[in-house]
């Protein structure tokens, strides 16, 4: 009996407490609607963008990017990011233009007999596979963890999936602050492992394209080192210098790229698949400077990169930002200049099917000497919550990219007068929202 009375008492107290809680939460709910959601949103920040990229006469890409992160009071943070790419259109296959129509097989094709697995390039045009398409999904996570007052560790991991390419990578960094946190030195390592499953199989390097010699899947992996020094130069000037070194080894070819084999008169005799060295070591120096004024800021980054394929590149990027007096809108123009020298095995064509001393050759224009310019403009609006605090941002960005090949070999014989190295022109439009 005693027990039953006690149970009844507990039940009444619980009912009373529940009513009190419900009424209290109803009251708060009337004052601040969705307070639970708002609290959750206040804890997490979101950065999202949707980009549309369109190359003149070639591929187009739709790329949504979403990342969420949470910062903790002790300096720790976690983040997740998700990227999708949907790519479609025409992609250069590496062959040179010709005075004659050229017929190619799609990667999944097994002969040049007509049908859906072949395509024909008109005389004078750059050969492009018109049915190129790809979907990519990538998921990344990062975690920053303060170890001591001046020591921070960071970890990251990423996986990426395409029909013909799987990738996984991980990185770890440690950063130490000095000089009242005006100087930060960090050292990071990274590792990436990729698995390649080319559509139709992996072509035998430098094999005759007409023989359709294919093998199985391939892989490559790489490790990197990044040493970074960040320095507060003054109240409005921040500077960073990075030194990086990375080495990739394994299958580094583009399995879909071929090279034209021509005779001295410039007529096409056939094609071979490309072959690149099976390792690549890159070094780079990167310098970033940010300067702020009351209603504007500027950023200038410079990069010099070199590798053991003989490529040297220089990059300079300048962006400026101006704010309205209320700091609720800004405009940001960007200018980027890039130049690279050619890989030492780059060649726009070959003169013979069998060159015993030839170990590597590629006509991929991305390995040629080239120069590129990007002009960009971004406009952003800061949105405020009902308490007048800056809470989110909406922005729109547009970029124009133009790439021009330099020092291209003049075409012999019949190739003379053709546009062998057409410019690449592309436009990128992006909308973004962050909270």
């Amino acid at each position: 009996m005693q027990l039953k009375r006690e149970e009844g008492g507990v039940r009444r107290r619980l009912i009373a407490a529940s009513c009190a809680l419900l009424s209290a939460s109803t009251g708060r709910g009337e004052e601040v609607p969705n307070s639970g959601i708002e609290r959750a949103l206040n804890d997490w920040s979101l950065d999202s963008a949707l980009a549309y990229y369109h190359e003149d006469g070639r591929v187009q890409v739709i790329e949504p990017v979403v990342s969420v992160s949470k910062a903790y009071g002790d300096g720790a943070s976690v983040g997740l990011n998700l990227t999708f790419d949907a790519l479609s259109g025409a992609s250069p296959n590496g062959a040179s233009p010709s005075r004659m129509p050229q017929t190619f097989a799609s990667p999944s094709g097994k002969s040049f007999a007509g049908g859906k697995h072949t395509y024909t390039t008109a005389p004078g045009d750059l050969p492009e596979d018109p049915h190129y398409s790809d979907l990519r999904a990538a998921l990344g996570a990062d975690w920053t963890l303060p170890l001591e007052r001046l020591l921070t560790a960071s970890f990251g991991a990423k996986i990426s999936y395409e029909d013909d390419f799987y990738s996984g990578s991980a990185d770890a960094s440690i950063a130490r602050d000095f000089n009242q946190k005006n100087t930060t030195v960090s050292l990071g390592i990274s590792y990436e492992a990729d698995s390649l499953h080319p559509i139709g199989g992996t072509p035998v390097p430098l094999s005759n394209y007409a023989l359709f010699e294919k093998t199985g899947n391939q892989s490559k992996d790489g490790a990197g080192l990044l040493l970074s020094l960040t320095q507060v130069m003054s109240r409005n000037w921040l500077s960073e210098v990075n030194l990086s070194l990375d080495r990739f080894s394994g299958y580094l070819n583009d399995p879909y790229k071929i090279i034209s084999v021509i005779d001295a008169g410039g007529d096409v005799r056939g094609y071979v698949y490309e072959n690149r060295p099976d390792s690549r070591t890159r070094r780079s120096v990167y310098l970033d400077n940010r300067v702020a004024w009351e209603r504007s800021s500027a950023g200038l980054s410079l990069r010099y990169m070199t590798d053991d394929w003989g490529i040297h590149s220089e990059t300079a990027q300048l962006h400026l930002q101006w704010w309205t007096a209320e700091r609720d809108k800004y405009v940001q123009p960007t200018l980027r200049w890039y130049r690279q020298s050619a890989a030492n095995f780059y060649t726009p064509w070959l003169f013979d099917f069998t060159t015993p001393e030839l170990s590597s050759a590629s006509s991929d224009s991305r390995l040629a000497a080239l120069q590129a310019l990007t002009y960009g403009l971004k406009y952003g609006i800061k949105l405020r919550d009902k308490l007048g605090r800056e809470s989110s941002e909406f922005n729109v960005r547009i970029e124009y990219y133009q790439q021009t090949q330099e020092n291209g070999l003049p075409g012999p014989g019949a190739l003379r007068g053709l546009d062998l190295y057409p410019d690449l022109k592309a436009i990128l439009v992006q909308i973004g929202f962050s909270y």
């Binding site: 990538a138 990729d194 921040l238 990086s244 310098l287 991305r366």
Partner: protein
């Protein structure tokens, strides 16, 4: 930029940084401008990710600001 010029920039830069870092910088209460979003080195993460992917797929160089791996079969 030639290798010689690059070496000179590196040597001079390292000398300036190693001797001058201790005298550079600001007090904690002078970080108002530095704390602004446009002064954060990774303040435009989505823009950087999309641009890096574009340049990775169209050029022979990548990375520098961060690790150079692409996680993409586009190059």
């Amino acid at each position: 930029m030639s290798r010689l010029a690059l070496s000179l920039v590196l040597i001079i830069g390292a000398a300036v940084l190693s001797s001058g870092c201790a005298s550079l910088g600001v007090k904690p209460w002078q970080r108002d401008l530095l704390s602004r979003q446009d002064m954060q080195l990774n303040g435009n993460a989505s823009d950087d990710a999309i641009d890096d992917h574009l340049y990775f797929s169209k050029e022979a160089s990548s990375g520098g600001r961060s690790f150079a791996g692409g996680g993409c079969g586009c190059n």
